[in-house]
Symmetry: C2
Subunit: 447 residues, 2 copies
């Protein structure tokens, strides 16, 4: 029998986890399938591969990453640590719990850069269209090499979609918004808070982007920061100069009217209104349609496309856990593909999905969600040889993190946590987050 | 023989010209092919269909239009007038020579809105992929209905590509640009000049976008406007507060160093560096690759894809002439498709292209280009029943326009020109362009 051919679409943390999963089996002596990973950017790292560009990139593709210059991890690194490549291994000494973007990129890159797995990635190559061939029971994947501007098609037995879902902004309309004369864009196109110095800033949304761009703007000297919520305020103990108001009713030039009748004037508006699941390269019967949640419908064990189990998704969930969850998913998908784990029947899969879906729908609040996602990961790891780790302790770290934020949204990043993988206590960063204006790797590692 | 099936991709002015060409043959009693036009926006008008959004639209598609709130025609309307639907017919009275965007949208919409041709357009439908089927000698066109998020495929005998080429920004890199703390984007994402009031603005580029955004910024009270050229300055007699400098060498925070050693500090940078020809739905053997010029290679008579003459492009040229040129192209393509005009052999086509290409390469300066494009249009109209008009007189209008701009870049839009089609002298707008801050249709038509 000829070797299976596997396409991985995207080389962000999820696609890199898939690459790592296969090569670790290979290093342990197994025969692995032929793998091609297509990545439209010119390097791997996905969201973590920062770029100053916004909107459309130099090849005319939508810019993928939504990260900004000043981005620091918003949760402790101890919650995302790989179980089989620790921060101690990477940095050789304790580092702080909330690294800046560049340090996390270095960590995910570090796990794979010394192997030759990068050879399996075709960079600057965008997947344009995927077609399932019923007769051959395989897929035709059509790609464009963005540098040479040539398209080509190849056949694959399985396809792994790892293109993320925080790249296509969800931008609602508001009455009169076209009359707003100031700066107006979505968080996706936000690249740095310096330009908000001295500005009156409105952030629409009440989740991570609003919170973090809000405190970044405060840090960089914004004159006033207003955050507008649709469902419920975040409710942190905001410093003077930051406030939460209910949802925007309408715009009238630079004046914004809120639903409680209050008005404010603004210089800049940033929509922190989340993202769309979008897979423009997939026919609709293969494309996931979901809101951003931790148990999207249609995916057995969160990874197998129920309607066509030769198609897989990685990282399609909303994310409390990130890197180590992608690993658990990638290891399980690898084992299915390599025949090490058995795919249950369609009925069994449906029953499994129903029971998890029922549990998902009964979740009440963030702590419940974190525990659910921990259990989900446990279920996956149990089926693979990925090193099991103390998921309950990670849940505890998440809850502590939430309490820290509640306590002080401006200082929670200064606190060290203990690694679940190595027991190492994190270092304290030399400078408090609020006073640290340089988020380069050099500065982070300087003592 | 069953009816031919024709797909038109895009319902901007070019796609609308194609729709009009077919329906005008039908109104004259001819049997026309089955036509489906796919348009990803929710209305027609292409660039002229203004939207406040930038970057990515509400369906996750790249925003198409590069136009801004304050955009007024940058050339006299007498140069773009349809030969078979005049401004007099549309507005019922003389209007000024440089209408605002909304008035031109109204004009192109007005020609077609009273027929039922809009039924042929599938709006909010993006073409995802086009495949040529060698055996059947036809095309499979795969589209996504963006509202229902469903994909589907249909077969067509011919495909007309009318998707424009001023939508995918060309954004060069400059050393240190990632350190610039202010507002930074391409002209494609520019939506209005009000926010530039009191700002120090850098525009990179030396063509229409730089010129027009520059004078808009001046009009709206920018503190200082610097335009940076790579090849040659525009050389207008800029008012105090506007200047041209050579190309940027590098950025260092808010300080920009120019190649002549001068430096300036800026609050905002807008790249007016042109656009990419990009057809992400076409395999590379069907996709035009060209710089923005008036005689792109590979197209017989500027419209027939030489390598596969069942594929056509409309509006692929850089544009002195616009709406009436798209008409001439659309009428000719219609006649080829309906067998009213004969397609020469591949060799004859190649010879024709070579001779025009030689002439194109010998052009020296703008006046030469305008004459070349007039001759090109004449050649097309001669082959069809589109009403011939006095192209030499339009050339004269273009040259007068150029002289007017040279004379005063702030007042050239106040001048009236005479219609080539009707002999009507344009009205003088009630307010000079520099003092007109309202560019709505209502205001434009108020007397
Ligand atoms: C603003 C922001 C901040 C975040 N901060 C944190 C944080 O602090 N900590 C944390 O743990 N997580 C954070 N996240 C979550 C983040 O999503 C994950 O950390 C992780 O990047 C997800 O990995 P992924 O591989 O699934 O997707 P992505 O990182 O999005 O990678 C997807 C890859 O697919 C490629 N791709 C897309 N389309 C195509 C195509 N058609 N053809 C070829 N390639 C394609 C992209 O170029 C990209 O490289 C943040 C996310 C955002 C948006
Ligand atoms: C900033 C700016 C200012 C301009 N000002 C003037 C002016 O003053 N006077 C003038 O005469 N000309 C002006 N132009 C030139 C303008 O290009 C033409 O007037 C005209 O709009 C070109 O028509 P078109 O139909 O070829 O392309 P477009 O107007 O670009 O229309 C293309 C259409 O294709 C659709 N489309 C694209 N991709 C897809 C897809 N995959 N599936 C389905 N539909 C798709 C788009 O949504 C759009 O509706 C200006 C251009 C720009 C960028
Ligand atoms: N490292 C960091 O510091 C950092 C920074 C930013 C983001 N992130 C990550 O990025 C990801 C995305 O976070 P996100 O905050 O961008 O998206 P998100 O978590 O999906 O939140 C979207 C927000 O937009 C609101 N919203 C949606 N539609 C709206 C509408 N029509 N009107 C008003 N509000 C609307 C939602 O309100 P409802 O609650 O009413 O639905 C919600 O508050 C997360 O994984 C997060 O961890 C990390
Ligand atoms: N109605 C209006 O008022 C209006 C307003 C704006 C635009 N438009 C239309 O929009 C269309 C596009 O015009 P445009 O000006 O955006 O594009 P354009 O005419 O293609 O001009 C592109 C400009 O960018 C410069 N450039 C390209 N790459 C560069 C680089 N790496 N570094 C520095 N400069 C670089 C070019 O310089 P070189 O000369 O050195 O190549 C040129 O000056 C035209 O049809 C125009 O009529 C109309």
């Amino acid at each position: 029998m000829s070797k299976q051919r596997i396409a991985i679409i995207g080389a962000g943390p999820s696609g890199m986890a898939a690459l790592r999963a296969f090569t670790s089996a290979q290093q342990a002596g197994a025969q692995i399938p032929d793998i091609v990973c297509y990545e439209k950017q010119d390097d791997w790292g996905g969201q973590w591969n920062y770029n100053w560009r916004s909107g459309i990139d130099r090849h005319g593709e939508p810019v993928h990453s939504s990260m900004y210059r000043n981005l620091w991890s918003n949760a402790p690194k101890e919650a995302l640590e790989f179980a089989e490549y620790t921060f101690d291994q990477h940095f050789g000494r304790p580092v702080s719990s909330y690294p800046p973007r560049a340090a996390l990129w270095d960590y995910i890159d570090g796990r794979v850069r010394r192997s030759n797995v990068k050879d399996k990635v075709q960079f600057s190559t965008a997947v344009r269209w995927v077609e399932y061939n019923r007769e051959e029971d395989n897929f035709t994947v059509t790609v464009e090499n963005l540098k040479s501007q040539t398209t080509s098609s190849s056949e694959f037995d399985r396809v792994i979609v790892a293109t993320g879902h925080f790249s296509y902004p969800n931008v609602p309309d508001f009455k009169g918004i076209e009359t707003f004369p100031g700066t107006l864009h979505h968080a996706h196109d936000f690249r740095g808070a310096e330009k908000l110095a001295d500005k009156r800033v409105l952030l629409i949304g009440a989740s991570y982007s609003a919170e973090d761009i809000g405190v970044q703007a405060f840090k960089m000297g914004a004159r006033a920061v207003t955050m507008s919520y649709r469902t419920a305020p975040m409710g942190y103990d905001w410093p003077e100069g930051m406030e939460e108001l209910p949802i925007v009713d309408h715009f009238d030039g630079e004046t914004v009217h809120f639903s409680d009748g209050q008005t404010r004037e603004f210089d800049a508006v940033i929509m922190c209104t989340g993202y769309l699941h979008k897979y423009p390269f997939l026919p609709s019967d293969l494309a996931l349609h979901s809101r951003n949640n931790i148990y999207p419908g249609g995916l057995y064990r969160g990874v197998v496309w129920q309607k066509n189990p030769k198609l897989f998704y990685l990282g399609a969930q909303d994310q409390w856990f990130t890197f180590n969850m992608f690993d658990a998913q990638a290891w399980y998908v690898r084992d299915l593909i390599m025949g090490r784990a058995e795919l249950p029947s369609a009925e069994q899969r449906a029953a499994h999905m129903r029971s998890w879906r029922t549990r998902f729908q009964a979740l009440d609040g963030d702590a419940d969600e974190v525990r659910f996602q921990a259990d989900y990961i446990r279920d996956l790891i149990t089926a693979t040889d990925y090193p099991m780790f103390d998921l309950d302790e990670v849940v505890r770290i998440f809850l502590e993190w939430k309490a820290d934020k509640k306590n002080n949204i401006l200082t929670y990043r200064d606190k060290p946590h203990r690694s679940v993988m190595t027991g190492t206590m994190a270092a304290e960063h030399h400078t408090t987050w609020l006073n640290e204006l340089d988020d380069s790797l050099e500065r982070y590692l300087s003592t």
